[in-house]
Symmetry: C2
């Protein structure tokens, strides 16, 4: 259901082709929801069939044709309806934790290596999030207002990556 919400939400900001939506998705919602182009295109087909979005084929001279989707009135109503429903808090769902939990069979070395590799990735992600956050901060107040909600989510992302990092360092030293 969240993908539907995500796509409607993206289209609410501005119309776009599946490809363009995917680009935007990857640098925003994609930080805490994942999808693939296949799934996104399928979702767009579905939304179109449901009559929640309009679709216009645009021929381009220098590029293959594209289909530009936009939110219509029914789609906006659906988006509002979805937003009203309560989101249930999700728990962490991470294969690394399952692995560590079952990890007494694996040697300390292997575990430490794995934790270190995760640490590096989370370090990179944290750097990225901080950069994005700074960029938003530099914008004029009027623009910043438009990005207020995305910014709030980014802040949780930062807190999570900090937690990951601290944990990786702590247990890496202990293993």
């Amino acid at each position: 259901m969240s993908l539907k919400l995500a796509v409607l939400g993206l289209l609410d900001v501005e119309p776009g082709s599946g490809y363009a939506l995917l680009q935007r998705f990857r640098t925003s919602l994609g930080f805490f929801w994942q999808t693939t182009h296949q799934q996104l295109y399928k979702e767009l087909h579905g939304l179109h069939e449901e009559g929640l979005v309009d679709c216009e084929t645009v021929s381009q001279e220098t590029r293959p044709d594209k289909k530009v989707y936009s939110l219509n009135a029914r789609g906006a109503a659906e988006l509002d309806a979805l937003l009203t429903k309560a989101a249930t808090p999700t728990k962490i769902r991470d294969p690394l934790l399952v692995k560590i939990f079952c990890g007494r069979r694996l040697g300390s070395d292997a575990l430490r290596a794995e934790v270190e590799s995760h640490r590096r990735k989370h370090e990179q992600t944290l750097a990225l999030y901080r950069m994005l956050h700074e960029q938003i901060g530099k914008r004029p107040a009027a623009v910043r207002q438009r990005y207020h909600h995305p910014e709030l989510t980014l802040r949780l992302g930062i807190r999570f990556e900090e937690a990951w990092l601290a944990w990786c360092e702590e247990i890496g030293a202990e293993l």
Copy 2:
């Protein structure tokens, strides 16, 4: 794949019926991996078909019959193989964040209420995790050693819940 790993990991500690495994799952691995009894039973059937676990039907006088599963040599080998494969770091995947991201359509009041409700839930979860962590701390060193890996995961759980809480408080005040 993680469910398979989880089930093999649980059986590696000790054998048990689907029902018993689910109880253990809920108070351990279930903190960072979710499942339902249907899925777990299906997984057990699958593992049995694959020949990775043995199954013995035990009739009980006061309760319905149960099937006690246990890890065999092939299952142990499979568990080791799964543990060797690298776990890819997952990102957060939370409907609340998708909602907040798209939340400019929703009023501040509604968002604040939702954040507050999440805050309360994370507060409860944090309290639970801290209690469990303390309980492990009180055990004699020998027992604590056996729970070392689960304890490591619990610590990440605590850090995450702390991050959630701090974030909910911060943005709740701002919305």
